[in-house]
């Protein structure tokens, strides 16, 4: 309610300030998957913030992880005659019909964070992160940091068979190829969770001489890294020093670990997918110039030198 009020006043304010500016009347529907993870909650928060900053009237629909709810929401957005629709598609297939309906109604659709298996003339553009690139940013950081010294790496993979696990592994291995001093000696799934990350790290430590053979840990997400850091500490080693820790996602808790010197680096999967989407939309509505079919978000690297406590404070309130 408070938010609706804030949004309404922001819209009015924007309308007064810009007078005839078309942005003030822009109505955008956003069909979100749900709130299955902290990252997604942060994406929702940021999308609302970005809309508010731009004076866009955002109509938000939570699909509770169901495609049928998303299709319903898109149809209702079409019926309401919104100016554009943002969709974070829960699955890749089954979108052709509803996207065609939006196209027939001349409403541009922008995909956020995931893509669909449909002809690319059915949507304006897709804003996503490049998972392979994320892995290679992490790998490159590690290669630069150890600078030629021999280093045995253990890897905590995401859920077996999931696309982030496959792509983040691929990207990391690509970055490591050509660096013969870096070797992945163990790789096992930690299911993206803290509990499994800790359990698997414990077994890595046991299997590699109490951790003496391990020089770095690469985790496919921060949560597994946070679990693994505890396992390293309980084994009597210093995470961040005895074993370097690099992971992906940039959730708030990893910044606390970085501030404490227990994690070394993280690659951000930005929850701000809406910002670039709104920018592309504004450009398209202004001069009809269609953006590229894929807008890649930045995979920013954070290290201990980037004032982790400050980033933590910034990210804390986003709903992660």
């Amino acid at each position: 309610m408070k938010f609706a009020k804030a949004l309404a006043s922001a819209t009015i304010l924007a309308a007064c300030t810009f007078g005839s500016a078309s942005a003030a009347e822009l109505v955008v529907g956003f069909s979100q998957i749900g709130s299955e993870s902290g990252w997604r909650a942060a994406e929702t928060t940021l999308t609302k913030q970005q809309a508010e900053q731009r004076g866009i009237d955002l109509k938000f629909a939570d699909a509770q992880q169901k495609q049928e709810n998303q299709i319903k929401a898109i149809r209702s957005f079409i019926a309401q005659g919104v100016n554009a629709i943002l969709v974070a598609p829960v699955v890749a297939t089954g979108w052709d019909e509803v996207l065609q309906e939006a196209k027939d109604a001349e409403i541009p659709v922008i995909l956020l964070d995931r893509t669909v298996d449909a002809s690319d003339d059915l949507y304006l553009t897709a804003v996503t992160s490049d998972l392979v690139h994320e892995g290679s940013v992490a790998g490159k950081w590690l290669a630069d940091t150890v600078a030629g010294k021999p280093c045995n790496v253990v890897e905590l993979q995401g859920t077996t068979g999931s696309s982030p696990a496959i792509d983040r592994k691929k990207g990391f291995e690509q970055a490591l190829s050509g660096h013969d001093n870096l070797k992945i000696i163990r790789s096992q799934t930690g299911d993206f969770t803290r509990t499994k990350g800790k359990e698997v790290m414990e077994s890595f430590l046991k299997a590699e001489g109490g951790g003496k053979n391990i020089c770095a840990l690469y985790a496919h997400n921060d949560d597994m890294a946070v679990g693994a850091i505890q396992a390293i500490k309980e084994a009597g080693l210093k995470p961040g020093k005895d074993i370097l820790v690099v992971s992906i996602d940039a959730v708030p808790d990893i910044f606390q670990a970085m501030a404490a010197g227990e994690a070394n680096a993280t690659v951000e999967l930005t929850p701000n997918m809406a910002g670039p989407a709104f920018d592309a939309l504004a450009a398209y509505l202004k001069d009809g110039k269609a953006p590229a079919k894929w807008i890649q978000t930045e995979s920013k690297l954070y290290t201990q030198a980037d004032d982790p406590m400050k980033v933590y404070e910034e990210k804390k309130g986003l709903g992660y």
């Binding site: 709130s35 077996t160 803290r194 414990e202 299997a207 505890q230």
Partner: protein
């Protein structure tokens, strides 16, 4: 006395053989497996890891055994773990003392169990459906408590339950050992265990012969809820945070598997808590063994399933009659005893 001990050993023999076989198999692929050091005031080694990591499933299996003995099943334990972890984390972060936090968390677990018990015993809903309700809703409740985020805490007392040690053993191991012995004594040193078995064999006949069936049924589900609460506290304390999405996820299935591997029939009746605990440890030994083996993770589930099928086939009376000439005398005797029954 020795004869009691012998029947007891005969009951646990298949599980013990399976466990020893698995431990031998792992130590052959991974030589350092049996090493035990004393480090930071506690025992340190893969064997201790198995006992420690197995804690949640052992606890769930203790409660699950009693529920299954009444011919029921409790699918909600994983979700109750998530609720209780979330409650514990939110109470400790809002400034309550450790004692209050644990008391309230255990009360929430008992309450969840009572809900299940009332659905089963009073409203007469089939256990699988009745507990499915809380299995589905529970994770949502847990997410409401944590507001969708992983709720972290720094209270040293609560963290001690997850990663501290007592008498050289990790706290979770101490907790399940003490709790398991208490429950086993409670049901076996009184008539409770026999009454529970009676309900499982024939609920109507038990009621007609004067057993307070509804009360005992509700108590069984409350015990299961209590076990889930303790497991939830341990799981949250272990990672210093309550993860509503993942805490206890699918552990209800591991707990049921532990009971089955322990040789308790899903049709209710005779049960053994010690055997279920062994079953849970067997499952964790498999998990830890897979992690140590260094196989690619794509093989994890297949290896686990193959070993479980093997253990279950070993327990099958038909298989054992067919191969009785290969079996050790104790097991052959047990087979004939079962056949006679």
């Amino acid at each position: 006395m020795t004869s009691i001990l012998r029947t007891y050993l005969a009951r646990l023999l298949p599980q013990l053989i399976a466990l020893v076989a698995i431990v031998i198999a792992i130590s052959m692929t991974f030589p350092g497996f049996l090493n035990l050091d004393f480090q930071n005031g506690r025992l340190y080694g893969s064997l201790i890891d198995i006992l420690n990591r197995g804690a949640p499933v052992v606890l769930l299996a203790i409660g699950m055994t009693v529920v299954i003995a009444t011919k029921g099943i409790d699918l909600s334990v994983g979700a109750v773990m998530a609720i209780c972890g979330a409650v514990a984390a939110s109470f400790i972060t809002s400034g309550h003392s450790l004692f209050e936090t644990i008391l309230i968390t255990l009360a929430v677990g008992l309450l969840c169990g009572m809900w299940n018990g009332i659905l089963v015993a009073v409203l007469d809903i089939q256990p699988i459906i009745a507990t499915l309700v809380l299995m589905v809703a529970g994770r949502g409740i847990a997410q409401l408590v944590t507001e969708g985020a992983i709720l972290t805490f720094n209270d040293p007392g609560l963290i001690f339950i997850g990663s501290g040690s007592f008498a050289g053993l990790p706290m979770p191991v101490v907790v399940w050992l003490v709790f398991g012995v208490l429950v086993a004594l409670l049901v076996r040193q009184s008539a409770l265990g026999m009454l529970i078995e009676a309900i499982g064999v024939n609920r109507q006949a038990s009621t007609l012969s004067g057993v307070l069936t509804p009360v005992l049924l509700i108590a069984a589900y409350m015990l299961s809820g209590l076990c889930a609460a303790i497991a939830g506290i341990i799981a949250a304390a272990d990672i210093r945070g309550a993860d509503a999405n993942n805490a206890g996820l699918w552990l209800e299935l591991d707990a049921i598997l532990a009971v089955v591997v322990g040789g308790t029939s899903l049709l209710g009746g005779r049960f053994s808590i010690a055997a279920s605990v062994l079953g849970a440890i067997i499952i964790q030994a498999i998990n830890t063994g897979i992690l140590l083996s260094g196989f690619p993770p794509e093989f994890n589930l297949i290896i686990k399933a193959a070993i479980v099928v093997f253990i279950l086939v070993l327990q099958s009376p038909r298989f054992r009659t067919a191969f009785a000439f290969l079996a050790v005398p104790g097991r052959a005797a047990k087979t004939t005893e079962q056949e006679a029954k």
